[in-house]
Symmetry: C2
Subunit: 149 residues, 2 copies
């Protein structure tokens, strides 16, 4: 058993900060998410959560992921493929963006402050405050410059 003061994951702390009841399952899912630096779908999150606590239900993963999204802890992404994928939400500063390899489907993250401020400016000029940016560029790997064969 853990002692009451054992350190929680960053996301579990966020969860508490938002006034959400911190159940064992939420603690587990928060830990799994804090531990992930990719973009898992619910099925994959469930798989990882079960490794930590085998008596967790996939229904709870769906519920928790939705709850976390509503509270700005998670962001839902759609990279095609029919299932939603999730990642920890960015802070207030700069969002990050995704480049998707057209052939392999691989997701590559990138940041760009020039892009941040350009978008910010465009949206402001249209009379809005920017809340979130969802940007994925699909690209195809360039042929090498010295393609001779």
């Amino acid at each position: 058993m853990k002692e009451p003061n054992s350190p929680d994951s960053p996301l579990a702390d966020l969860c508490r900060q938002r006034g959400l009841k911190l159940t064992g399952q939420r603690r587990t899912i928060a830990f799994v998410l804090s531990d992930s630096d990719d973009h898992p779908d619910v099925e994959e999150l469930y798989r990882r959560a079960v490794e930590v606590d085998p008596r967790i239900s996939i229904a709870t993963v769906y519920r928790t992921v939705r709850l976390f999204e509503e509270n700005g802890i998670l962001q839902r992404r759609d990279f095609g493929g029919g299932r939603a994928r999730y990642e920890v939400a960015d802070g207030d500063h700069g969002d990050h963006y995704h480049l998707i390899d057209a052939d392999t489907g691989k997701v590559i993250e990138f940041e760009n402050t020039e892009l941040d401020s350009l978008l910010e400016g465009i949206v402001r000029q249209m009379g809005y405050d920017l809340v979130t940016t969802r940007l994925s560029v699909v690209g195809r790997r360039k042929a090498k410059t010295r393609t001779r064969d």
Copy 2:
């Protein structure tokens, strides 16, 4: 009955250009799409298509929309809400982007050449050729400058 030389919709022509068999249903769906300047989902497209030709099936709408997407005639969009939405694909020049009102869900289109070239450049620097850009910024209508109440 239409004469064989009756003018087809721009999308129907595109359809023929791509070597796709131009059936009555595809002609209808192409017409409906050419006629739409919003972002209908399949259900909505089906509704509009039935007004033109009542004996069309929703399965065919699903099939056609997928076919058109695979052939670069349509682009699939995800604005949340669980269902895919479609719009006519942009030409080779500049993509267009979407601003989504956080409160109403309303979709506002915009273009920006500076954004076009910035993205192009970023992707190139990462070693890729840009294929498509999927960008939606979620924004909240700014409070008026003279908010006093």
